[in-house]
């Protein structure tokens, strides 16, 4: 089925998310929609899927104009979507999720689960998915959950399939498998729209590439274009894809973690006897697929977790058992992975957010009152130093873009005398410009002789920043390897292969 978008425009108040976008996807073709976060890719696809009504333009399937009033209409017309955040009910089985919305019933209104099971089996056999129709979604690994999403779309005879940032949650191996599935679907005649901001994947599967920036189509590219060409199209200027950094000047062992474990309320190990050391002036990057204990590890170091056993030493002083305030007083700086939830108070101003961790004493609070003059001077200085693009220091942080929010967090954390810097997913959801800036600051911190722990699920970021790489899988560190380790070896480690097996 041929999909065509003509002049799609979508506004949210004064913001134009999509500005007269034209697209054509032929059957048996993979079109990559490349753009930064916030470029308007997801909005466009939500328009296509009937979740948003366009303010202008039209959607055509096989040259017939369509009017979708909801996702149900889009699905009936043959459009399927594999969402970035899976649209699966966690407590339902695979079969129940696949049948939801177009349930077959038997006598007396009973659900025909047998038919749904057969359907799942049939599709999963056709593509070699190996999915058990009776497994509960929440028990399945994310890679399999994604296949369930694909089965769900195919079970409705989707002829146009949209993949919205499908690789964000996958290991490199799972990503390769997904690419293979996409090629298989393509050869079966499905028209595929693949939304991503990862350049390597684009070049691997795309037949054509359309680049979107600030809600407009800014260009077409062929899969043979270089990364630099694609990136400059995406950002609108040439970008440095690697991080400039000199070899590290290593000091003494600064952060020593020994046999650290974190257990949840049911006694399951989230972090399982992890040991590592970070030297002063070194960046240790922790790689791994989301949800393998990285979050719990950083929270354990910062004193945010209960159920922690083992030892954490900073410059010989134990951090375990201290309150969060105690850990911060020991010189730890922390960039949490969810800045809007854990890093900032969106309703507070930039200045207020900058003093959040120093609210109980000098320099900003004296005798129980906030020293507004001192705070404002400090905030103005940080605004300039960290290039925070805002109207002023009284702007509410919630109104800033993701990149500027992250700069506020960095400014706060790096403006103290640090003895340790922990950055979790420091560039998640940021534009390329902000990523460059954040990376520069992290390297500068290292060069100041501070031990740095970076946790990231983006392999590119890990490879760019790290002096050494530790890979986490199911709560354990499966290997600590040098920064120049090949990607496929890192990929195997991320999938849980242990270090010796990889070497062999």
């Amino acid at each position: 089925m041929k999909l065509e978008l003509r002049g799609i425009t979508k506004r949210f108040g004064p913001l134009v998310a999509n500005d007269r976008i034209d697209l054509v996807v032929e059957p048996g073709e993979i079109l990559c929609l490349l753009g930064e976060n916030g470029a308007g890719k997801s909005t466009l696809m939500n328009v296509l899927y009937g979740l948003h009504r366009p303010d202008g333009g039209e959607i055509l399937l096989d040259d017939a104009v369509q009017h979708f009033s909801g996702p149900g209409d889009a699905m009936r017309a043959g459009i399927g979507m594999v969402h970035q955040h899976f649209m699966l009910v966690p407590v339902f089985t695979v079969a129940e999720n696949v049948m939801l919305g177009h349930e077959a019933t038997r006598f007396g209104g009973r659900l025909d689960l047998a038919a749904a099971r057969a359907k799942v089996k049939e599709i999963s056999d056709r593509f070699g998915f190996d999915v058990d129709p009776d497994a509960r979604i929440e028990d399945l690994p994310v890679g399999v959950q994604q296949r369930v999403e694909i089965i769900k779309a195919l079970s409705r005879d989707a002829r146009v399939l949209v993949f919205d940032e499908p690789t964000a949650v996958l290991t490199p191996q799972e990503t390769d498998e997904l690419m293979a599935i996409m090629r298989q679907l393509k050869s079966a005649g499905t028209a595929i729209v693949f939304i991503t901001h990862k350049l390597r994947e684009v070049r691997e599967v795309a037949d054509r590439i359309t680049v979107i920036r600030l809600g407009r189509v800014v260009g077409e590219a062929s899969p043979t274009a270089t990364n630099a060409e694609l990136a400059s199209l995406m950002v609108g200027r040439s970008v440095e894809l690697t991080v400039e950094k000199a070899p590290p000047t290593l000091g003494a062992d600064a952060l020593v973690v020994e046999d650290l474990s974190v257990h949840d309320a049911n006694g399951a190990a989230l972090v399982d006897s992890v040991s590592f050391t970070v030297k002063a002036g070194e960046i240790l990057a922790i790689a791994g697929v989301q949800g393998n204990g990285q979050t719990e590890l950083t929270e354990a170091i910062l004193g945010l977790q209960s159920g922690v056993s083992g030892r954490i030493l900073l410059d010989g002083q134990p951090l375990t058992g201290r309150s969060v305030k105690g850990v911060l007083a020991a010189g730890a700086g922390f960039v949490p992975e969810d800045r809007q939830h854990d890093g900032l108070v969106p309703e507070f101003t930039i200045a207020e957010n900058l003093m959040l961790d120093r609210s109980d004493g000098p320099p900003f609070v004296k005798g129980g009152t906030v020293q507004t003059a001192d705070l404002n001077a400090f905030a103005e200085q940080q605004l300039a130093e960290f290039d925070i693009r805002a109207q002023g220091i009284t702007t509410r942080v919630g109104r800033l873009s993701g990149g500027n929010q992250q700069k506020v967090v960095l400014a706060r954390e790096l403006s103290r005398d640090l003895r340790l810097f922990v950055a979790a997913q420091p560039t998640r959801g940021l534009d390329v410009g902000s990523i460059e800036f954040v990376h520069e600051r992290i390297v500068a911190t290292r060069d100041a002789g501070i031990p740095v722990l970076v946790i990231s699920t983006e392999l590119d970021e890990v490879v760019a920043l790290a002096d050494r790489i530790a890979v986490m899988y199911r709560g354990r560190i499966v290997g600590i390897v040098p920064a120049d380790t090949p990607r496929d070896v890192l990929g195997l480690l991320m999938a849980g292969e242990t270090a010796p097996a990889v070497a062999a």
Binding site: D73, F86, M87, L88, F92, S273, G310
Partner: protein, 426 residues
């Protein structure tokens, strides 16, 4: 691998105090001690006679006579054994089976009954029938609660729905002299209360608990005012509805002990049986139930497969109100044929507790409601038997059981993931 094994066990030992739940054994221990004091130390001599049949039953059984003190001692011993078993399970990191609290509660209740009836006769069918009678509105309310919460709207307004159902069915029943009209009116009244809840919760995204609480207060105030202002002056016309009479089901009602209790009942009770079965079947075996649960667990997933989240929520919350309204009709068309101020007296809140205690499952919620009904009726029966327990203490009983059941024995249960969260598209 070896080093991993040892460190894991080491961690487990270190986590003992905070990770394992000693809640159950402690509750058992305290109750066993209370039993020891009451049933053994303060034990009463004399034989407790449990009458198993009433006059007119098809099969007449001889009364069961138990010596009160010996029964008490045996009950405490069994309870102590249960406690010890529970401690053992906790130290061995094993799950607590469901039968343990059931056995525990059963022996202590029998011991307590024997103690209270010493030298007297306790009519068991009467006790059970009374329990069922008190449970009926709780069960209807709990079914309404289960449906509403499963679809993602927290229903604190069960009390208001019951009370509205009770009031309207009394008035409509009195005016039309028709029981059927009374029932339908009760359902409509419950639905109207639900409409308000649904409109505010779904359309205007107001906090569902707050709307529910406000609705309860509103309905209580409104019905009390209308009762004083209109029903009392014209009670002959407006507040004397007809009353359901029991219908005896042949064969089934001849079963000893439980037959007359369960199958010599009013139509409303039979409706309740049907409702429990229908809701259970519907919720887990039909398209309606699958969609309803999907909306309550992951509304966005439902939306993206073309299910209208707001519509599903609105109509199912309304349905929940209609079912709860039927429970209200039981107060005024079956129990006592007239409305009085606050006739529900908190039954809706106990029904809400039954929803949670029953883990959002209609059958378990029904069993929980029966337990709460039993506790309420125990208070009545013990009062009649002149047991040496102060009546004020007995009045507490159903609520104490409710608190213990919900807070203590539930442990970790997981409700519908999206309950209480308004859904905003986009």
């Amino acid at each position: 691998m070896t080093s991993l094994e040892t460190s894991t066990t080491g961690a487990l030992v270190g986590r003992d105090g905070q990770r394992r739940s000693w809640k159950l054994p402690i509750v058992y221990g305290v109750l066993t001690l209370l039993g020891l004091v009451l049933l053994v130390a303060l034990g009463r001599d004399g034989a407790a006679s449990f009458a198993l049949s009433q006059s007119g039953d098809a099969v007449t059984l001889p009364p069961l006579v138990l010596p009160a003190r010996v029964t008490g001692i045996v009950a405490v011993l069994v309870a102590a054994a249960c406690t010890a078993w529970s401690v053992r399970l906790v130290t061995a990191h094993r799950r607590q089976p469901l039968w343990l609290p059931v056995v525990f509660a059963l022996v202590l209740v029998v011991g307590l009954l024997a103690w209270a009836t010493a030298g007297n006769t306790l009519p068991v069918p009467g006790l059970l029938a009374g329990s069922l009678a008190l449970s009926v509105p709780l069960i209807f309310g709990a079914l309404g609660g289960v449906i509403s919460e499963r679809v993602g709207v927290v229903n604190v307004a069960i009390e208001g729905q019951l009370l509205a159902g009770a009031f309207v069915s009394a008035v409509v029943g009195s005016l039309t002299h028709s029981l059927a009209a009374g029932l339908v009116a009760a359902m409509v009244a419950g639905m109207l209360v639900s409409f308000v809840l649904a409109a505010f919760a779904i359309k205007y995204l107001v906090d569902q608990v707050i709307v529910g609480v406000v609705l309860n207060v509103l309905v209580l105030g409104l019905t009390s005012f209308l009762y004083s202002a209109i029903l009392v002056p014209a009670s002959g016309v407006l507040n004397s509805p007809p009353q359901f009479t029991p219908v005896r089901i042949p064969v089934l009602s001849a079963i000893p002990v439980i037959g007359p209790v369960l199958f010599d009942q009013t139509v409303i009770v039979y409706l309740m049986y049907v409702a429990v079965a229908a809701v259970t079947f519907g919720l887990f075996k039909t398209r309606w139930g699958l969609r309803l649960r999907a909306v309550g667990e992951h509304p966005q997933a439902a939306d993206t497969v073309g299910i209208s989240v707001s519509g599903t929520r609105f109509w199912n919350v309304s349905l929940a109100g209609a079912i709860a309204g039927l429970g209200g009709a039981y107060f005024t068309l079956a129990a006592v044929p007239s409305f009085s101020k606050d006739v529900t007296s908190g039954a809706g809140f106990i029904a809400l507790a039954a929803v949670i205690f029953g883990q959002w499952n209609p059958v378990r919620a029904t069993l929980a409601a029966l337990l709460f009904g039993f506790a309420s009726n125990l208070q009545n029966v013990l009062g009649i038997l002149n047991s040496p327990v102060p009546s004020d203490f007995l009045l507490m009983l159903p609520y104490v059981v409710t608190i213990f059941a919900v807070a203590g024995l539930v442990g970790q249960v997981r409700g519908p993931a999206a309950a209480g969260k308004p859904y905003v598209k986009g």
